[in-house]
Symmetry: D2
Subunit: 312 residues, 4 copies
């Protein structure tokens, strides 16, 4: 252990070193192109930002550029669903890795409408349905929550992306109707999908994300708002779900290479958490075949290598 | 964080408290009965032992009783395969959770003979095949290795269990021939299975196991033998594979409830690792429907609850 | 061969004998209950009717009672789709048995949105989509077609059943959106489903059905309207698809026991064709676990046994 | 109906016409190469032969050349198993098409060791196991049976092919052990496989095969030996199983294009049956991607087109 938790390192220098190492990966990978708004993003952007429990933050490159957080929002909806129903949510969703692509209907069919975990699309739809059964306007409620924990009151949904998601979202419509056929969506399918497409369209920067995830690095307390968002035990548990299920069908590889809980999105963002220590977010739009940011995952691998940090 | 890594707590008292809490679970679960030698084990036994990086150990109940380690041996074969071929092994086995029962042929067929990870039976057979391609007598080699890292020169295979495994092992024969049909077993199928059945039959106690796993808690160095078994980086990575794939189809649940890398066996043993801190082993033969020890998993959950420890 | 094709037998007596043999099956099986309009049907009804190429017909029991033909309509939509696009339809649907329940999404996912055959729901949705791309009002067009070939100008859709199908049709919505996500529905998903739910709701009697299917027994020519509906070769081919795919996941069993091409519906109807000879329809609402009419399938088995007829 | 069952046509001329139409297919397809003995066969060979219930036969091209019948033998083992146990066999094997490749373990796992039908490898292994439980020397028994029904006392197993099958048969070993793990092989796995590999290695010509299958065209009576092999009803039923399950994962296509019950083998042979009329066999070693003879299937399609014959 070359390093104690909480100890600060020369992050600016580490970020520069990471960027140098990423040069050979530039131009590789493929930007998500299932909707025009994502396909139009410049693939050469790269940002990184971290926030420590000690209260410092460091940003590099395009780390303050807003992008579509997509599936990273699933951590927020899991958190809110747990706030409302605690461990009760596990009757409607599992917490095992899926071993299948994130939007597969196959496993859902074999397992009778109980999604494998809250981070595949089907599971996130159930979380959204839970939130909607507790608050009248889930879209506003979620937005207020993310503004609070990021400390950024200007955060917005992207209506163009949300509308595109809807137009291109036949598979998500299929998933939602399929869940409904098993009785695992209680609300109106179209309303649940509308909220879901909006949460995916949230625009945030790496710094916004690093700050937002601090409650998971800080025993459930957001140092930004000072509020206890969830219990310490719940924070550990969400980290555990991120560790085993957070990276689509590549969670084992991410744990192996990076060694911390994380969550990715097809917009190219990845957030990682070192409990008791820091949250770190990267963004680079070009994806590997498993839908995770190519440079982003490598940046986090280099970060844990250079700092000697890992939960393992 | 109520507690710093490496700090000693009053383990004897914690063990007693755990045993008290387990009382309602007594008599529940079901002993593995696919071979007579396992079915005959008294289900009411319970042992626990831990070994710290500081050099202390604590044992409770049946923590020094020998039992069949079964799939826990897969950590040893992964370790030895990595010693021989490093990251080269990943061309022949994945490192993603399977999302399927541990002895499933389905996923193997869809993925063309590349087992999902080294901890499902198919993956372990490939690891055994790798070891056998490097040493003339893999059975003796593995035994010597486990004797070294446990510090117990008396450890033995159980020939009755090994023979029973062979007689009842039609599904493992099916897996091995299936791997061979994809070219992912290089050696003789019967010889690989013979080694495999022997490694499963190894008899160890909780204390033996806690000591053996110390190289994974101690940056690759076995404090028992003083030897660097694997690199620090490799130790982290094996911990990562245990975290995502170590508990059959219940890895997500174990991460959620217990919060540390672990490996279980159908003999009723489970070993957990808190990197930089300790290794802990429990044994109780009655299993839950996912083939993991019912009392053992609960004991480890209580351990992390009572001590406030977790990698998350 | 005790019997030449086209030869008339004493059908009224055979029908009576069949009804006697069915007595022990009365009260067994289960009426489809996924929509109220089907669940309310009296399970004890039984009808049978046949029409010969020679121009005779025979009806027994409830053979002129109207019922919901449900999936039997898939033969009509396949026929119309072939009229419009001939063998071109096979680029968008297969003609192999599915080996899976009729509304499975699993196979559709593995096979990238190409349904296995036109008689599973997904395949029928594609046929409906094809028809809708050729005629402005597919619902009226299909109804006119069925009135023509049955010789019954009073046939109607059941609007209550169609609406119920829609309300309960989450899985069909899921299928249609899933097909759309693969680009295998060209039209509007809701419009295709509306037509689909209507065709399932068609109310016909056994006699209507036996007459309607005569073009398949008579080399493509409907003896009712006198029109060549499809070519002789196409008639043979639709019979072939019925033989291998017409009875949900029980086609092999039906071929084995009954020995003629057939198509069933969850309303309890089954139609069979003896090419060059006759068409026969049975109706009894109580279903076996594979969604086929329990008494209806047995009645057809007895019919081929008593008459010595079969394509084999 | 341009043609009555049993009527003779100018078969020599039809055969010549078929061969002319096949010219563009020459050199296409791929000879089975999983064992050397099959891979070495000249792909340009083509034979065809038919035998009528009236007692005539016609042979063309390489129709008297011996080749490895492979899976066609599965019809013989089904027949013998039915002779021994009648409909009792259906407790251990289904009669539904598989919707999956012929040697898939997937379906077998989902369906708990009951093979879908007797014509996939797993099902044929169960049939072989049944025969072996009734006769002391199944290999000799089967050979005597085929010699009888073909009228060719010189037929032999090919020991080189049988040995090659064994050496390359890892997947069949996997299947057999898997069946054994479900308790659906009663005998010794190696002995069952030995018989199985021998039956696949049987060498017969098109004429031998057309003659051998006459009991299925002739209501259970072999006109060659004059013996009632099975009942008329059983003959129809075996034809039904061939129709729905006889062509690997291409049965629906064969029914559609050819329109008669048939059984193929990877040696390039296909046999078809027109009940009450004739049996016909083709041989051409180059296979299509579904493991059926490319020219053979086309020859049979042309045969039913030119003669206007079909069961539909």
């Amino acid at each position: 252990m070359p390093f104690s938790a909480g100890q600060e390192q020369d992050y600016p220098q580490i970020f520069e070193q990471i960027v140098r190492e990423l040069i050979p990966l530039r131009g590789k990978g493929k930007v998500a192109n299932y909707i025009p708004a994502l396909a139009a993003v410049d693939p050469n952007q790269f940002g990184i930002a971290l926030q420590t429990v000690g209260g410092n933050h460091h940003v590099h490159g395009d780390g303050e550029v807003l992008f579509s957080i997509q599936s990273i929002s699933k951590v927020f909806t899991l958190t809110l669903a747990m706030c409302f129903e605690g461990d009760g949510i596990w009757g409607r969703v599992g917490r095992e890795p899926s071993g299948n692509p994130f939007n597969s209907l196959v496993q859902l069919e074999y397992e009778h409408g109980i999604p494998r975990n809250p981070f595949i699309n089907a599971g996130a739809l159930v979380m959204t349905d839970i939130i909607m059964s507790h608050v009248p306007n889930a879209k506003e409620y979620l937005l207020a929550f993310v503004r609070e924990i990021s400390g950024n009151p200007k955060l917005q949904y992207d209506p163009v992306v949300a509308a595109s998601e809807r137009d291109a979202g036949h598979r998500n419509f299929a998933l939602a109707h399929f869940l409904k056929s098993f009785g695992n969506i209680l609300g109106d399918v179209d309303a649940v999908l509308d909220t879901y497409f909006h949460q995916c369209s949230l625009r945030m920067s790496c710094l916004d994300l690093a700050r937002s995830f601090m409650y998971l690095a800080n025993a459930g307390v957001s140092p930004i708002s000072g509020r206890q968002i969830i219990t310490s035990r719940q924070a550990k548990r969400i980290n555990a779900v991120m560790m085993t299920c957070g990276l689509y069908d590549e969670g084992g590889d991410f744990a192996y290479r990076v060694g911390m809980p994380g969550k990715s999105g097809v917009g190219g963002g990845i957030v990682g958490v070192l409990p008791g220590d820091l949250a770190i977010a990267t963004w680079s739009p070009a994806l590997n075949p498993n839908h995770n940011s190519l440079c982003g995952a490598m940046a986090l691998e280099l970060f844990t290598t250079f700092t000697g940090r890992s939960v393992f």
